[in-house]
């Protein structure tokens, strides 16, 4: 490997070195603040090193990783999201688990897995990144060791995720049997001239899609989602819903684009069907929830449904660039928004040891008690609902434009219907928050520390900036395609 190879994968190297440093620090001296700061510094350094790596891209590193603007952008996003998750968890995890140091180590490792997924252009690195992300998440979900709910959530995720990985591997094996290669670009070349029947290759691609759709919790692979999100610690639910899904989506998008799986028309139609089902089922089920965490879990199913529309739109080669651009913008907006929404739940649950307070009644009157936290939740919910002046609106508008340019009217109808249902249940939370505090007895005593307040302001600002002045990011996204 040459020096430029090392520079190109510098973010991954920094993360790996950071994980090792944090591990050694924990081994010699246990201290929560030191571990948290070291982890955050490693994550932010990794994000910064993406900037210097951008100068020498695009570059293929070894057989496994492809360093280009696309992978660097998302690695930086995941690193920042990981750092924000660390910051939000600082007070939370002290109350929820003894020996909380390894928590931060696992977040760094999970972010490394997400980074590998963003870089992967080979089925082997795709699998390794996915497993690194998932294995770290199993432990993170089960981390609080004073209650059984997280353990139950982690067991469910472990078993179902294992089945999904097996499906994925079977798909890889079928593709390899047909083409003799695992690299995305070569797959694309050889799929066209494969000797094996296209039926088997298509079955392989469909199995890969099914395995990844499980991780993205798309309908009909979504059954685990509410239980896992409900049981997991709130900051980890946020990390799982944002980074965990965005990384898998990025890898899936790259696989479809580079291996040109759009050649299998029926497979792409299958993604369209999954998208419609996810949008409708996710939103309808979210409507029935009174538990905010479960509501956000179902809403994340719906949001991944919106994103998945992109694959159908990509069938039309004319609007492919616009569709990918829309997906990238939506992923960035969705990551910021989801972390903000779960961040609020983290901050109001810092001192609740037994069971997390997430019922609708428990946020009633939040505006009068904690205006800053309520403001964070308000901005996050409006962004999820797609109200103008927030990042979510621009993201949805982008998808809308792409769908119109691709002429996918059925998908468009599902998007509009899903969003309409969504507005109702998002605004219901806002309605509860504006109630008078004296109407309810379930008042939670809150006192977010300075780090919680600072991160809340940062998240509110990033969602609003993306919503009000998105031109810079849009121009950048257009330039890297």
């Amino acid at each position: 490997m040459s020096a430029s190879d090392f520079l190109a994968i510098a973010p991954l190297l920094v993360l790996a070195a950071g994980a090792t440093a944090v591990m050694l620090q924990i081994a010699f001296m246990r201290s929560v603040p030191v571990t948290a700061i070291l982890s955050m510094v490693a994550l932010l350094l990794a994000a910064l090193s993406c900037v210097s790596a951008a100068a020498i891209t695009p570059l293929q590193v070894g057989a496994l990783l492809s360093a280009d603007q696309f992978s660097l952008l998302f690695t930086a996003l995941f690193c920042v999201a990981g750092a924000v998750t660390c910051g939000l968890s600082l007070d939370y995890i002290r109350h929820h688990g003894d020996e909380p140091e390894e928590y931060f180590l696992l977040i760094v490792l999970a972010t490394l897995g997400a980074g590998v997924l963003a870089y992967a252009n080979h089925l082997a690195s795709l699998l390794l990144g996915l497993e690194l992300l998932s294995v770290s998440l199993y432990a993170l979900i089960a981390y609080p060791n004073r209650s059984l709910l997280p353990l139950e959530a982690a067991s469910k995720y472990l078993v179902l995720s294992g089945a999904a990985s097996a499906t994925l591997l079977f798909g890889f094996a079928l593709l390899y049997a047909g083409t003799g290669t695992l690299a995305f670009a070569e797959l694309g070349e050889k799929l066209g001239q494969a000797e094996m029947g296209t039926g088997l290759l298509m079955a392989g691609s469909a199995m890969i899609f099914a395995g990844l759709a499980f991780k993205l919790s798309l309908v009909p692979f979504h059954l685990w989602t509410p239980d896992v999100y409900d049981g997991a610690p709130a900051p980890i639910s946020g990390f799982l819903a944002s980074v965990g899904k965005a990384a898998v989506f990025v890898a899936l998008l790259r696989l479809f684009l580079e291996a040109d799986l759009f050649r299998y028309y029926k497979l792409v139609q299958l993604t369209g069907l999954t998208a419609i089902l996810s949008m409708l089922a996710g939103n309808l089920l979210a409507l029935l929830q009174t538990n905010i965490k479960r509501m956000l879990a179902y809403s994340s199913i719906a949001h991944l449904g919106y994103l998945l529309m992109v694959f159908m739109i990509c069938l039309d080669t004319g609007s492919r660039a616009l569709a990918v651009e829309a997906a990238m913008f939506y992923l960035i907006a969705y990551t910021a928004t989801t972390i903000a929404a779960f961040g609020l739940l983290t901050l109001i649950n810092e001192s609740q040891v037994e069971r997390e307070q997430v019922q609708l009644q428990q946020v009633s009157g939040l505006f009068w008690r904690q205006p800053l936290l309520a403001g964070l939740m308000l901005v996050a919910l409006l962004s999820l609902a797609g109200i103008p002046l927030t990042a979510g609106f621009i993201g949805k508008f982008y998808l809308f434009t792409a769908a119109v340019s691709g002429g996918n009217w059925v998908l468009l109808a599902a998007l509009i219907l899903g969003s309409a249902i969504g507005i109702y249940y998002y605004l219901r939370v806002v309605f509860y928050m504006t109630r008078g505090a004296d109407e309810h007895k379930h008042t939670v005593t809150l006192s977010p520390g300075w780090s919680g307040s600072a991160l809340s302001c940062l998240l509110i600002a990033s969602i609003l900036v993306l919503g009000i002045v998105p031109q810079t990011l849009m121009a950048y996204l257009r330039s890297i395609l």
């Binding site: 591990m23 070894g62 390894e102 390794l128």
Partner: protein, 169 residues
């Protein structure tokens, strides 16, 4: 001829896996699982991947054997246990997996003689595997080491909750 052997091993693997899934006695199921893994190892060998075959035996069949030992440890031993063991050794329960394993051994002995007979046409030696793993796929090895670190840290933390130390309740 070698292809026939391959399909025999494949049939044994399938039959043993089905048997492993349908046995109601956990120990019997484990024995079938081991036979199934051995059959897959023979298939790897016949396809020209002796290194993968060896790993399959060492890691999978070996690990399953350890699991087996744990099962024995957790069973209540004593007079009832001895009676049960006598029952296990009686005829039927070991004859089928035993003959499957014997058949696999016979296949191995047949193939060991001619080194050129592989179904895929090329044999992959352990040296080639090592060269590939630590050449173009070096980064994969490094990422896998991080994966192991994550599994280790997770297992340590989750295992801790079951350890009651002095001073704790």
């Amino acid at each position: 001829m070698i292809v026939v052997l391959f399909y025999i091993a494949a049939v044994i693997a399938l039959a043993a896996t089905v048997a492993a899934l349908t046995r109601t006695n956990a120990t019997h199921a484990l024995i079938y699982l081991i036979v199934s893994l051995l059959a897959v190892a023979v298939m790897f060998f016949l396809m020209g991947a002796p290194f993968a075959a060896a790993l399959e035996v060492v890691i999978y069949a070996g690990a399953i054997m350890v699991l087996f030992v744990f099962v024995i440890m957790m069973l209540n031993l004593g007079a009832a246990g001895e009676a049960r063991e006598r029952q296990w050794l009686a005829g039927r329960s070991w004859f089928v997996p035993g003959s499957m394993a014997a058949l696999l051994l016979l296949e191995m002995l047949l193939v060991l003689g001619d080194a050129h007979g592989v179904t895929s046409g090329t044999a992959v030696s352990p040296k080639v595997v090592g060269m590939t793993l630590f050449g173009p796929y070096l980064l994969a090895v490094e990422i896998a080491s991080m994966l192991l670190l994550s599994g280790l840290v997770g297992a340590y933390h989750l295992g801790r909750r079951f350890i009651v130390r002095r001073g704790d309740h």
